[in-house]
């Protein structure tokens, strides 16, 4: 075994340097040059230079004039991507299908949606009443967006057709027409509603 000690230490050290130091630095360098926006978090920077968040990270909305996103089970507050005090971050609810807490959470959301828009009798799309796995899901399904159009239109005093057109504008279809699901980016939609460029 002694004869293997030197190769063990050397090979281990060299491969660690190659894969743990050189490789990350090299790909970071290439990425920062080739894909600067994505490599730095796809931040949404408005014309006035203010950062409104990331295209990929959702935010909490419960004002009737905004489109609401999915339920978020992150700690302290919803869509809390990183909390320095108690060191919590991305999280799902992890409720099993039989967990009573799951049904309470869903029922609470159903009640909140119905309270905000009492005349809407359509069935509520499931992604709107369930917690996302990360707690940071920036999207909702097209059905979930369309469900909320009447409420948003009323709250802003706008025509429903206008709002629907905006939803369609911010709907991303399946990737390459076959991968994934069509979805709407809630933050970008709400920024557009507020007229932020």
């Amino acid at each position: 075994m002694n004869t293997q000690l030197r190769p063990a230490l050397t090979v281990f050290a060299l491969l660690t340097i190659i894969t743990g130091v050189i490789y990350p630095l090299v790909v970071t360098g290439i990425a920062q040059v080739a894909f600067p926006s994505q490599a730095n978090g796809s931040l949404i920077i408005a014309e006035d230079g203010k950062a409104y968040g990331s295209e990929l990270i959702g935010q909490q909305f419960d004002d009737p004039k905004y489109f609401w996103g999915r339920i978020s089970a992150t700690g302290t507050f919803a869509y809390n991507a990183f909390n320095a005090e108690n060191l919590t971050a991305s999280s799902g609810s992890n409720y099993g299908p039989l967990n009573p807490a799951l049904l309470e959470m869903v029922q609470a959301r159903v009640d909140a949606l119905k309270a905000a828009d009492p005349d809407n009798t359509a069935p509520i799309p499931v992604d709107l009443v369930t917690a996302s796995g990360s707690g940071l899901d920036p999207h909702i399904s097209v059905a979930a967006a369309l469900y909320q159009v009447p409420r948003v239109a009323t709250a802003r005093g706008l025509d429903e057709a206008q709002i629907t057109a905006l939803v369609n504008q911010y709907t991303e279809g399946r990737q390459f027409f076959i991968l994934g699901e069509p979805h709407v980016n809630v933050l970008k939609l709400n920024l557009a509603l507020d007229g932020v460029q």
């Binding site: 060299l14 302290t76 990360s134 399946r174 076959i178």
Partner: protein, 581 residues
């Protein structure tokens, strides 16, 4: 089933089938030291490493030396990672916005063992616990090294069957250097850049603070107007985590996090990264033993079992949770929503993308995930659990999957041989008493560790402290998953379980160690037995091992052996839950 889900599954499997041969041939050439197109870059580096390490590439090892070097490599990785995690705050250079504390000893040793065994079970959340330095020099490097170590044990095992009348299985240092330089590194460079293109961050920035569009309140009633975004060299870790069949991700929720897995394309690429090398290894195996059909048989067995998991899981998840539907919620699939059970899933993946990942990761000994398995419908969660209980033979871990499925085949051959009264043999190698002892030990180790530890956890107070989210049958499933995943060196979990305490950190660490080093040593010992034997010629009495009948024998053996071991445990967990839903 949603037609688009079906298209995704077919596309995924179609790409795998198309790549098996070219990638399999490449792997064969790499480990035989033959010429490849990246030699001009890698050969000088390889020679430098051998010179500095004092390695003679011509000098090969027998199974014992191979096992010893494998263990040395693994222990070295464990120790190095443990040290890095314990002295985190001292290594300042790449720190993000927060000052990471040193990891507690039990969490540090658990994480160190976890990554050195490719389990990458994470009893911590990355963006709140790890410095950038730890993530790349510690965790990402281990992803490469441990993944490579698994791959080369698979190659050594194949050599045991392919060679005869010798004791040599190869040179571990040569094999592992080649695995990193020719296989894992080049593919990772391309893969991680594709990830960045799609939105995965790759930087050394501190965490930025952005303003929220709408202010919100926290649980204490305080107004919140800003959001802190985690950053880091995410893509450098995320691709190799899958390629090396490790699974340990940058963030707490792994591949569910939009920064780790932003689009359906990154999801597809990540899942392909998990499955393609293990799938191709069946072809490498077939070529190295001179009988490609032997490799294809194993591949199609994996394919069939994979599909079975997909169909069952998709059916369960697409059906959705009837209790939620009863509240006036629409869970039907349509052109404008995925429907089904969306709890713990992400909108961009829907049901199809999530199920694809669930089946690929549970089969691929890879602990990454893109949806929360704890919230799956009972049958959906059972598929994830059963895939691991089958022994990670459906593609499986890098290197380990191949010898795992061959070991299951050997059990099947033994049973078949008993039925017709002949000494079983595989590829001309006799399976006699010595070989059978090793094979049976291999089959027994997993249930002998998983079941007693699960039982211990559910009857003791420290064990039960894990059940902070769910209880009852689902809580039992959570604990069963914790030990099964450790033994299978998978690392996925039902995340509602709270396991960052000494009881679980220590028991799962022991399990991970047994699942990795115990089984590797058994596989190498078996290869050591085989490699000394002469290849017996094929006679009319030989059972053919490249026919559909043999494939069915392997499938039946895998299912029956696992069912016998685990059915009672499954009955107490997912099956009870299914009845109650």
């Amino acid at each position: 089933m949603n037609i688009f889900s079906l298209i995704q599954y077919v596309l995924f499997l179609g790409i795998i089938v198309a790549l098996v041969k070219p990638v399999g041939v490449y792997l064969e050439r790499v480990f035989a030291g033959e010429r490849t197109f990246i030699d001009p870059v890698m050969r000088p580096l390889e020679r430098l490493i051998y010179r500095l390490a004092g390695v003679n590439p011509q000098q090969e090892m027998d199974w014992k030396q191979y096992a010893v070097t494998f263990l040395l490599f693994g222990f070295g990785g464990t120790l190095f990672l443990y040290l890095i995690l314990r002295i985190q705050p001292i290594l300042h250079t790449f720190d993000p916005a927060f000052q990471p504390a040193p990891l507690a000893p039990d969490l540090a040793i658990n994480t160190a063992i976890s990554f050195a065994t490719t389990t990458t079970w994470q009893a911590y959340g990355g963006e709140t616990t790890m410095s950038y330095f730890s993530q790349i020099v510690g965790l990402a490097a281990q992803n490469f090294l441990a993944g490579a170590a698994g791959l080369v044990v698979g190659i050594a095992f194949i050599r045991g069957l392919a060679r005869e009348r010798t004791t040599f299985l190869g040179n571990f240092w040569v094999d592992v250097t080649r695995a990193v330089l020719w296989v894992l590194l080049p593919i990772s460079i391309i893969g991680s850049l594709i990830l960045v293109w799609q939105g995965v961050p790759l930087n050394f920035n501190s965490y930025p603070t952005v303003s929220l569009l709408q202010a919100t309140v926290d649980t204490n009633g305080n107004q919140i107007t800003t959001q802190v975004l985690p950053m880091g060299p995410v893509a450098a870790l995320e691709f190799i985590k899958n390629l090396g069949t490790n699974g340990g991700g940058f963030f707490n929720v792994n591949g569910v996090h939009p920064f780790a897995n932003p689009t359906p394309l990154t999801n597809l690429i990540s899942m392909l990264a998990i499955a393609i090398l293990p799938a191709a290894l069946t072809h490498t195996f077939g070529r190295m033993v001179g009988r490609p059909r032997q490799g294809w048989v194993l591949f199609w067995v994996m394919f069939v079992l994979f599909l079975a998991g997909i169909f069952m899981s998709d059916w369960a998840e697409q059906r959705g949770n009837p209790r939620i539907a009863a509240l006036g919620v629409d869970t039907t699939v349509s052109s404008i929503q995925a429907g089904g059970n969306m709890e713990g899933k992400e909108t961009r993946f829907g049901i199809g993308g999530s199920v694809l990942a669930a089946v690929t990761t549970s089969n691929g000994a890879t602990g990454s995930y893109n949806s929360m398995y704890d919230s799956y419908i009972p049958i959906g969660g059972a598929v994830v659990l059963v895939n691991m209980m089958l022994g990670e033979i459906i593609f499986g871990g890098l290197g380990t999957g191949l010898y795992s499925i061959i070991l299951v085949s050997l059990v099947g051959l033994f049973v078949g041989g008993l039925m017709v009264g002949r000494t079983p043999e595989y590829l001309g190698k006799k399976i006699s008493v010595n070989e059978m002892k090793l094979i049976l030990l291999y089959a027994l180790v997993a249930p002998m560790i998983i079941l007693p530890l699960t039982a211990l956890a559910v009857i003791t107070a420290p064990g039960l402290t894990a059940l902070t989210t769910n209880s009852g049958a689902h809580g039992f499933s959570e604990i069963l998953v914790a030990y099964t995943t450790s033994m299978a060196n998978n690392g996925l979990n039902f995340a509602g379980v709270s396991v960052n305490n000494p009881f679980y950190n220590i028991t799962t660490a022991v399990t991970m160690w047994a699942g990795r080093f115990g089984l590797v040593v058994l596989a190498l010992a078996l290869a050591g037995q085989f490699v000394q034997q002469v290849h017996k010629p094929v006679t009319p009495g030989t059972m053919p091992t490249d026919t559909p009948l043999f494939a069915m024998l392997v499938i039946a053996t895998a299912i029956i052996v696992s069912a016998l071991s685990y059915f009672p445990a499954l009955a107490l967990g997912p099956l009870v839950e299914h009845m109650l839903l």
